[in-house]
Symmetry: C2
Subunit: 149 residues, 2 copies
């Protein structure tokens, strides 16, 4: 921390810098598994909870519902997710992750988190858990909560 005179850099600046590096680290992993970044995000989301509409999924992961369709098409073609008509609403399709999707997601995640764990190991032991906890809290805030609007 090189802040001068008790100042601190903007959170956004620090986080942005770190995210950029982490994304760069993810790229080859994702490429090796033949899945896109958004594809991986979708798999993570569906692993947590199936989606009742594509629009809802897009909203949950912060993606544009019109742009995500291509990604969903690819994931479906690769057998990583399934889309089924919702019997309760014929406009909508239920989405869930497949067994293959689970396996691929797990493989990617293991590699990504191994690298992340390496970075976390650079921190003093007493900082790790508080950092992760704080990050967990802050990352769950909605955009409205963060912006105060």
């Amino acid at each position: 921390m090189t802040a001068a005179e008790g100042e601190r850099p903007d959170l956004a600046a620090m986080l942005g810098q770190l995210v950029r590096g982490l994304i760069a680290a993810e790229r080859p992993v994702l490429a090796a598994h033949g899945v896109s970044m958004w594809g991986y995000v979708v798999l993570n989301a569906l692993e947590r909870c199936p989606a009742s509409t594509q629009a809802a999924l897009a909203k949950e992961i912060g993606a544009d519902k019109t742009r995500i369709i291509g990604t969903l098409d690819e994931l479906q073609e690769a057998g990583l997710i399934a889309r089924e008509p919702d019997p309760a609403d014929r406009r909508a399709r239920l989405l869930h992750i497949t067994g293959s999707g689970r396996a691929l997601r797990a493989a990617v995640r293991d590699r990504i988190q191994a690298n992340e764990n390496r970075l976390l190991a650079l921190l003093p032991a007493g900082q790790r858990q508080p950092f992760l906890r704080a990050l967990g809290t802050l990352s769950e805030l909605s955009e409205d909560e963060i912006t105060g609007r």
Copy 2:
């Protein structure tokens, strides 16, 4: 933290989510002061240390040296930065922030950090400093260090 069975979400995912919100929070502040996001980044960088070449500045802030020129032009026109020929190297120009630039940067930063402080206040007191320290450490890693390449 809603991780299931001792798992944790990817750092990148958590950070990315948070950054997105923080950037959204910054937008209106920057707009109100008539400065672009990159412009603000440049001001912060020059506040820390004048630059000996535009290329060096671009590298430091992770910007593309060819794309940043427009931003520098605007900042110079607005009197926020100054570019002077380097007597030691006629290809290069020395860059530094002006008094106006300092004032504007400070005004923007105050508002941005006020919002950030509001968010930090959501954390338990014991988590704040460890979080900021850890973030400071991790954000200073180079991309090569983060990617392990």
